[in-house]
Amino acid sequence: MSVVERRRSPLLRDEVTLVELVDRVLNKGVVVTGDITLSVADVDLVYVGLRLLLASAATLEEQREGK
């Protein structure tokens, strides 16, 4: 059976990727106007940041493999 299950038990918490978490925690949930709230621009910045981080991690790995 090719179902990959990623349960959110404390033991397996690392299984939930940061992307998955960010997708829910920063992108969903009720928006109420606090005294300080994230703007959409901030969330977009997170995605840009994650992309850069992931891209740089991939580059690093390639460099390592290339050696």
Partner: protein
């Protein structure tokens, strides 16, 4: 030396139905208004200052620590009572402001709590290995008939074009079928945009990124995912089930 008074803020994780068991949650405070409870934590204001927030959000370590903390608090609360998650980074400068917010939005929170009570959110992603699927479809091609190299080339090209049309139709069908079957066993459903490969870091393409609200302890969705996985395995499609999550995707009207 004069020090500015340490600014304190109240970070709101979510709003729950009041329940004595909430008192047992670690490291959070409860702010009550009517039968609603805001689950909050006192945080240094400087941590979430608007001037530094964008920078902090791009600090992976900071983001991960705080996003997980947000999730952990909600998970703890959801384990004992109905909870409506608030978006990450909702901050008030005083508990009185939190009370005001609860009062102003009481009706909406009550509706949301009613919807999610006794339910959990499950995430389902379908991934497709495009090269495997192309091969499967190519296996159905007619062997190229005689008639010279030119005719064979044209026939091959026509088959390739046909195949790529077929491929994209088939993928759309698969995603629609999966979502239809999963929605049929869910109380509510949301289809999110598939995450791009540069974010997932996987070679497979994300075909479906769905969230489903299901009654606690109800295995029908899980079984349906297994059934879909068995049926679609031959096409190079893999399913991934995540959760149970607090109901992030089911909090009413959203942008």
């Amino acid at each position: 030396m004069i020090e500015a008074p340490a600014g304190t803020a109240w970070y709101v994780y979510g709003v729950a139905e009041d329940d004595p068991a909430l008192e047992r949650l670690d490291a959070v405070e409860l702010i009550r208004q009517g039968n609603l409870v805001a689950i909050v934590r006192e945080v240094p204001l400087e941590e979430y200052d608007e001037a530094v927030l964008p920078e902090r959000l791009n600090d992976r370590e900071w983001l991960e620590r705080n996003a997980r903390a947000h999730e952990d608090v909600l998970q703890g609360a959801a384990a004992v009572t109905a909870v409506v998650p608030l978006r990450f980074g909702t901050i008030y400068r005083s508990p009185e402001h939190v009370v005001e917010m609860l009062g102003e939005r009481a009706g909406e929170f009550a509706e949301n709590l009613q919807r999610v009570r006794g339910h959990v959110e499950l995430g389902v992603k379908a991934w497709v290995d495009l090269s495997a699927l192309e091969q499967t479809l190519a296996a159905g091609d007619q062997p190229v008939a005689g008639g010279g190299a030119g005719a064979a080339y044209l026939q091959q090209r026509a088959q390739q074009q046909e195949r790529s049309r077929e491929l994209s139709d088939r993928l759309t069908e698969l995603a629609e079928e999966a979502h239809r079957r999963l929605s049929a066993v869910a109380a509510a459903d949301v289809v999110n945009r598939p995450q791009p490969r540069e974010l997932t870091g996987r070679s497979e393409a994300m075909l479906l990124n769905g969230a489903y609200l299901v009654p606690e302890g109800d295995d029908r969705l899980r079984n349906e995912v297994e059934q879909l996985a068995a049926e679609h395995a031959g096409l190079g499609v893999e399913y991934e089930l995540t959760g149970p999550w607090p109901p992030h995707n089911f909090t009413g009207e959203q942008s």
